[in-house]
Symmetry: C2
Amino acid sequence: MTTRTLIRDLAHLPDGSEVSVSGWVETVRDQKKVQFVILRDETGSLQLVNPATREGDEAAATNPEALELTESISTLTHGSMLSVAGTLKHDERVKLGGLEVKIGSVDLASLSLPELPIAEDSSVDKRMDWRFVDLRRPDAQLLFRVQTTFEHALRGWWIERDFIEIHTPKLMASASESRAELFEVPYFETTAYLAQSPQFFKQMAQSAGFGRIFEIAPAFRADPSFTARHATEFTSVDMEVSWIDSHENVMVMHEELLTAGIQSVVERHGEAIRDRIGVELVTPTGAFPRVALQEAREKVAADGYTIPREDGDLDPEAERRLSALIKAETGSDFVFVTDYDTAIRPFYHMRHDDNPALTKSYDLLYNGTEIATGAQREHRIDVLEAQAQDKGMSLEDLEHYLDFFRYGVPPHGGFGMGLARVIMLMLEQTSIRESTYLFRGPNRLQP
Amino acid sequence: MTTRTLIRDLAHLPDGSEVSVSGWVETVRDQKKVQFVILRDETGSLQLVNPATREGDEAAATNPEALELTESISTLTHGSMLSVAGTLKHDERVKLGGLEVKIGSVDLASLSLPELPIAEDSSVDKRMDWRFVDLRRPDAQLLFRVQTTFEHALRGWWIERDFIEIHTPKLMASASESRAELFEVPYFETTAYLAQSPQFFKQMAQSAGFGRIFEIAPAFRADPSFTARHATEFTSVDMEVSWIDSHENVMVMHEELLTAGIQSVVERHGEAIRDRIGVELVTPTGAFPRVALQEAREKVAADGYTIPREDGDLDPEAERRLSALIKAETGSDFVFVTDYDTAIRPFYHMRHDDNPALTKSYDLLYNGTEIATGAQREHRIDVLEAQAQDKGMSLEDLEHYLDFFRYGVPPHGGFGMGLARVIMLMLEQTSIRESTYLFRGPNRLQP
């Protein structure tokens, strides 16, 4: 392994240390008497310096290596990857962390073409074309470090509570929810579908007696929408637990889980997020507010907004307004909207005993946008079949799913949550294209 | 939330405690004077007892609830899910952990059909048809707990070392490795392919300056094989790191990572694995043996086996023999086979400077079977292009991939490892169908 010191760790080394650093060139200032290179690695930026030896200088004759070194530095292009061995100097006058490395030797790993294909002011679409260059931005790297920390905290929360991690298949013989927006895959002699969610298979784990499970994995929707929050492939965060009494139990776990995730991000990256992205991330305290959908509609109407939908669901503008109202009332960035109308929920959401027009379900809004849907599931096979038929679904198509409920199944519920949405909203990004490693949309399959 | 005590935790409660347990019926012994139910949950089994009150008994008249309770217990079928409130009794004569709960009340969540569709001696294929019932077996549940612990330990190892977790897209515009065995997906006006591995996109993270990344995610191969170790969809464990000198650096990280994973499994489940599965799992100590492919061929030949392949690669029998020889020589369950012939490796594996017929690559064998392939990647664009052409590949098809190498890229390498294979071999299972939640093969898309 290249014995390499990360730039972040240089500050702890004594003056005069011989070090080796590796990274890419951010800028070269090639002055007559001295050359400066700003080198970046995944942890920071560093100034490298070399007293130039030029053709015709007295030193060039006696020290051809110095001439060669100067000339090799002159050829460096922005983006080139290299390792540099040199001597560390603590110098408070240097802006970049008060450190400088005097170049001893350069080992060029890979020279970049002279012109990078994108600049800071390139359009999002252009940046997505060259995502690997775009991702070198320190704020982009921070975003994926935040995501890494967030996911690890969620998994830690689950593991502490004895959840089992499952990997459900993404190739299915039938649709998981609706036939709309499904990708079809020719599969040997038959046709498979790409899973829109792990819904059926995470419920299967409840029949299997797993008790509590989680999964973070891709899901697919052949959704032709072009919005800031839709993708054809996305990372779905899923949890499902047995022996609940209602969706309220799921919400309690959901808010504890998210609080643990955000707390971990605040502890590890709070300062960097403030400095780099200008967002003051705060760990939520206590329970998230709950508002029944009916009350949510009334609040939004009282706020002067008429929802342009017939079905009674909130539209994105209503979600934004509701979130703003709740934020003003309670200070919370999150709000659970509960008890959705049966008409706008899938057949497997449990309905209220005392009011079958309402489901035991919720959506979770974060900073104005929906990030998750949860519910208690209907586990009583006779009721489930009736609800499926009620929605015009074919029991035959659902045969394998319905089987899960014939040999004993506990009451259960859970949620699915879009990872890129959570990170987008946490870091106040304008689109999930910024919080997805490689975005996939109707017009975007590359790189 | 149902206030529920896990069966595992009952032993710590005092005699006479009022408890509520939830789970499924394993057996009912419905005797004239007394009823016994064995209840199982995700943590263990428990004996429930009820002194029977029968029609015509004196007590039946004075205590109709007792009659009703007895009758409801009589109707319980194997697999039915229920919650039971009752009184805990410590009684050393009870085989199941010296505990018994006297039933106070039964809350039936879901009655199972009277005949379970599979029995202990059902064929693997039949068991896969009813996987959710099959997974109720305690050894199956243990397997997925082991997998959960193993994965969490891997992720912990990575996180401690500042790796970034990435989620690469599974929908690609072009093939990631070869055009063979690719699933095609009609994608709006064009065609997408399901990723066979995250290879290209994990390399992209190196161009992006991420330094070190990992991913655990599905991968897809339209592989018509029927073997104990192939699936059309599998969970791939991937790692990729920058600034390496050779594949040796990758192997060192790979063996440390696996050792951390197995150590965590041994600590948490070693006893249960011994008791339930009869496997004595031991944490590896020190480095795994390395054997160059050429030497591996010689060893297997000296062992009296002629490999029935023309291309110089090991076949499964050769892998088993080599592993047995290494195990006898060194005691190691693992062996790295290194320096594969260029002819049998993908174009992006780096070749040895002093011998371009050999690659800087390896396979890792575990208890006789290949679980992973690793390599240093070729990062020099001119060499990479020449190697691709050498393999008869179209540079045009690879355009977006080759772009990753034009704007600076560090030397890098990594590996891909099949999760279900690791768990299969760790727990001495006969097929990855046992170590996959829901197996997918050419004939298997359901449930």
